[in-house]
């Protein structure tokens, strides 16, 4: 019970400071998740870092929702002193997914943002070195977007006769 109250506390603080920015608050699998508008995300994370001591960036990644035509960037923060976690989500448009970089607050976001750019094409404005990190440099697509068929139907190099499919 104590945990729930504590989680509500941070939500109350966020509601006081950034009432207009919060879209929804949920706890899927008991993980506090706050969906926010994209505009002030860095400001909010900076606030959580300075005032609320959420000083560890667990992870950051992209999620593609083809039905909503949006690319979501998800941030997970950890408050090490009290072992509290929070997940922040912002939705960006599929055509132009641009968001300011988090490297200004967490230098560790550098590679995570590169990975998110590599796989989802999210542009992190102000990132010191936004290039592909895992895939070959020549790649022209963002492979984790759910816009490609699972297999290229026209390929002939792997036919059923040889591969038993």
């Amino acid at each position: 019970m104590e945990e729930v109250i504590a989680e509500e506390k941070i939500v109350t603080v966020l509601r006081e400071k950034f009432a207009d920015e919060i879209i929804s608050v949920e706890s899927p699998y008991k993980f506090l998740t706050v969906t926010l508008k994209a505009d002030k995300i860095i400001e909010i994370i900076k606030f959580l870092y300075d005032q609320e001591k959420y000083q560890y960036l667990t992870t950051l990644c992209g999620i593609h929702y083809p039905d909503q035509k949006s690319i979501v960037v998800m941030y997970q923060l950890h408050k090490l002193t009290e072992n509290k976690r929070i997940r922040l989500k912002i939705a960006l448009s599929e055509e132009n997914p641009v968001v300011p970089t988090l490297t200004t607050v967490f230098p560790a976001a550098n590679w995570m943002e590169r990975e998110t750019y590599d796989f989802y094409g999210v542009i992190f404005e102000g990132h010191p070195n936004l290039i592909r990190i895992l895939n070959v440099e020549e790649m022209t697509i963002f492979p984790m977007r759910k816009e490609y068929p699972l297999e290229d139907q026209s390929r002939e190099d792997k036919n059923n006769q040889m591969f038993g499919r």
């Binding site: 895992l134 895939n135 070959v136 790649m139 697509i141 492979p143 297999e151 190099d157 792997k158 591969f163």
Partner: protein, 187 residues
């Protein structure tokens, strides 16, 4: 189980090639003598990227013992290697590195592709994985399996040995060979 005593009588010496024999001399063609020597002293370069590499370790170990075929001296420098053994998934990003290793090897050089991934991409039918190393370098022998057992790898080596033994000394200078390399964009 019957214990076999190991004595020099059990050691199998490779057969001498065809030739002319007489009292105090033996004459054969240079090609055959070189083939025999090369065949039984292959220096492999292991390029192991995943589970097939583990099977290779078993192949090199005392139980399967690739040393029996004269290939126990692994060369971890491509310059001194005769045989490039590619074992495991080759991601597209790894492709140029594999190619560079192949290019650094001195002629004559052979390539053994071990396992489904190296031979065809295997189960990794995806954007990030090279669908068979024969897209970037020529391959002499393919060993199927996921991963292949050490016996299969040894079988692949024996097939390489057959190629090494019977290869013409002029093959690497031939136009056909150069054309084949050019098809892969090498040289």
């Amino acid at each position: 189980m019957r214990m076999e005593t190991v004595s020099l009588n059990n050691v199998k010496v490779s057969e001498s090639p065809e030739g002319l024999e007489g009292a105090g001399f033996f004459a054969t063609s240079l090609e055959k003598a070189v083939g025999l020597a090369r065949k039984n002293s292959i220096w492999p370069l292991p390029f192991a990227t995943s589970c097939c590499g583990i099977e290779f370790m078993a192949t090199m170990g005392s139980h399967y013992d690739l040393a029996r075929f004269g290939a126990e001296r692994l060369s971890f420098s491509p310059r001194q290697a005769d045989l490039l053994m590619v074992m495991g998934t080759i991601a597209k990003k790894m492709g140029p590195i594999l190619r560079q290793v192949y290019e650094q090897m001195a002629e004559p050089r052979w390539v053994l592709s071990v396992g489904a991934c190296a031979s065809s991409g295997g189960i990794f039918d995806t954007y990030s994985v090279l669908q068979g190393i024969d897209r970037i370098i020529p391959v002499d022998v393919y060993v199927p399996g996921c991963p292949p057992r050490p016996e299969q790898i040894i079988d692949g080596i024996l097939n390489i040995q057959k190629l090494v033994e019977t290869e013409s000394l002029r093959r690497r200078d031939s136009k056909e060979y150069k054309d084949m390399l050019n098809k892969y964009g090498i040289e």
